[in-house]
Symmetry: C2
Subunit: 184 residues, 2 copies
């Protein structure tokens, strides 16, 4: 079976991905992240960086939160918003703008001979930080049609509607089709 | 006379700097910018990158705008805020938060045998975008004690109070002291 290295330091992300794509192996290396609001550009740069270290197949993912009222910010800059103003500050922005619409989006970049991208996104509302177990911005994101924020959901509930799951399923389909085309 | 390479693509910045520090030469190369809200970290990374290309003395500068209401954002992420929400959006943030205080700060990193940092900053208010000649966020920044935004000033007026000028003067003092210490 071929190996695909999922470059991430996050064990939970890795576990979720491996449950869908068994050929994944975790590769916990720290790659420089270029400054951009274009997640694909960031992912592309990381994949090319990884290739300098080893010739292999890799995936890199980016999951970010995009506010309508900020024309797509914070996007991949979300970690800096978290560090400076946190969930309270993010909520305050949506509140003061009077526009709570946001999109949670995962983009996966897969390098084989080329770079292929797979996206999953869900729409939702920014709400006042909830309690719960979530990490990052989970406490302020409530997916459309749900009565709970990500932080208030069990891991199973969250996985069942997650943008990451959607992107992973697309990658899986691609890999399955790819595998078949080799057999013929 | 020794040469110090100022890494910038901006001719105006270079001209201003050279008028203060004659030994500067412009080096217009594109260095990857890591993602951070810490300008020093970004500058350090660029200087180390430059050193891979050539052994020499370099300076790299970062001039950013820091909002009180965003706990220091956008800072070095200012370019992405400009691209997404622009001056109108930046002003709207200050307005909705009801806090117009901001700081314009230049940090210069100078590599010789070590990296030395020099800072200049001025406080001011975020105002509704003015007309004028300024570029970037010049139309929304009004320095404390001034009746004009940066965009409404002549280049001379702007230079006379600029955060960049303050940082450059500190670098110049350092270089002068350094030069004397060699002569003894």
């Amino acid at each position: 079976m071929k190996r695909i290295f999922f470059i991430t330091g996050n064990k939970n992300k890795f576990r979720e991905a491996k449950s869908i794509i068994p050929e994944l192996e975790q590769l916990d290396i720290d790659l420089p992240e270029i400054q951009s609001i274009d997640a694909k550009e960031i992912i592309r740069s990381k994949l090319l960086e990884a290739l300098k270290h080893k010739k292999a197949e890799f995936i890199v993912e980016d999951t970010s939160l995009y506010f309508d009222c900020l024309n797509g910010l914070p996007g991949p800059l979300i970690k800096w918003f978290m560090k400076t103003i946190g969930n309270e500050g993010l909520y305050k922005i949506a509140e003061t703008f009077g526009n709570y619409n946001a999109e949670a989006k995962t983009i996966i970049g897969y390098f084989k001979d080329n770079i292929y991208f797979f996206e999953g996104s869900i729409k939702g509302k920014i709400v006042a930080p909830s309690s719960g177990n979530g990490f990052g911005w989970d406490p302020i994101f409530k997916p459309e049609g749900s009565t709970k924020t990500f932080a208030e959901m069990t891991q199973e509930e969250k996985n069942s509607i997650s943008m990451r799951r959607i992107a992973l399923n697309k990658l899986k389909e691609f890999l399955d089709a790819d595998r078949k085309s080799y057999k013929h």
